[in-house]
Amino acid sequence: MDRDQATRQGPGFNRRDFLKGSGAAVAATAVTTAVVEQQAAAQQQAAKLVSAAPQAITLNVNGQDHKLTVEPRVTLMAALRDDLNLTGCKDVCDRANCGACTVLIDGKPVYSCTRFAIEVAGQKVVTAESLHTAEKTDLVVEKFCEHDGMQCGFCTPGFVMAVRGFCNAHPKATLDDCRKGLGGNICRCGTYAGVLQAAFDTAQAAN
């Protein structure tokens, strides 16, 4: 689904160009490759201006650090889906309208299509994948099942993350609060009643 696949990696890009570009080449002869890479990454994080070429960044997703190389124009959504294969956040509208790509950044729900991956380096990203593991299932997921909060399921991961973020911030929310707060996610099947009930139950359970 990545609409920029063909142009994502500029032709002729390699680590040597990157090191040269980031000014780390001076140090490269004296230290081991691993150290150079670490230094280059740190420098990249701190750099106030980076070129349009692919940049090495570290994304913290679901508690794990991932090193990846992305151009500044790559959105967080694209990086999660295409580079990290975390396809829980859905590419639906790609223009901050539908909510299907919602993830949590430092605990707050954000449309991942409205952030560039490079902006988010250093922050903690949580995706829908984290809500159901071998060890535990998040209450939001259980409540979605209980109240039949899905039909085709395409909007569901975004909705689940929005509900998780909303309930974290509003633990005593009423049904009306849920309705107001969750207007940023669209479900074309019309599962709103179940979703809102699931959100309400989750919020109440936090009391």
């Binding site: 106030k48 901050a96 309208n97």
Partner: protein, 328 residues
Amino acid sequence: MKSFEYARPETEAEAVAFLGEVESTAILAGGTDLTSLLRAELVTPARVVDLKRIPSLHEVTKVDDGIQIGSLVTLEDLAKHSLLSNYRSLFDVVDGVRAIQVQGSGTLGGDLCHLPNCWYFRSRYGLLAMENGESLPEAGDNRYHAILGNSGPAKFVNASRFAPALIAWGAHVRVIGPAPEQAEWLPLEYFYVTPRSNAQGNTILKPGQLISHVWLPDAGRLASATYEVMQMEGLDWPMASAAATLKLESGIIRQASIVMGHVAPVPWVAQEASRLLIGQPLNEETASVAADTAVTRATPMSMNEYKVQLARTAVKRALLKAADQSPV
């Protein structure tokens, strides 16, 4: 999306410097609109300057004669801030943005500079939406277009949701750049322009400039409210809105400022309607007269006459809501 350099300044001066170095730049605040504009290639900057790491732009501070709000303050932070609790009309706006995702990311400055949602503009026909010398909104589907200030070539409506409330409060904005250290305060009302050409833009911002802060006078005993007429319950843009700031003494209006949104290419100050309220009590009747006056000069287009009634209703309800919140 075209590729671009990415700059993340840490001071206002660095931001101005990064903006000045290359010809075409775009300013990234919350990203709720810019990412869409970039994706659609409606803007194709060589460099994107991300303002998020500039601490001074995130501050809300008490100043001598009022409150100064950084342009990067998010809607969510605005609604929570104790210094802003008396500016009710701003809360009404935040409350109307029915998405926690946008409330958490969207910024005050981003809203003020939000480009029009006019569907011709968003489909690459430019702000004036002309094709072969003909105005597309004039000839085509203009149901969400201007009903006031539309006699020139601009038919779009200003998209800002905070501007009506802020102008009704007498807000000023601080514009910095393009020269280093250059800063100017001006009334928000004068920040917006109705363009005569596509190149003109809909604000006074020139390349290399940005809004750094918004100033609001002390709230004192003034009351305020915003009323937005929405089509949908979820995340949507108002079809018309109005904000009112009032000073009531023993039930009599001593000061009034009414500003309408989403009805004209600029936030529309309803001066006459505001003036005739002075010395009157505020009730259904006087609010109705003011509302009628606010839209009396409306010049609706072929498909948007309904907006006149929406704007009228917005003015009336904003006034009554503000009066309800007036300190006794």
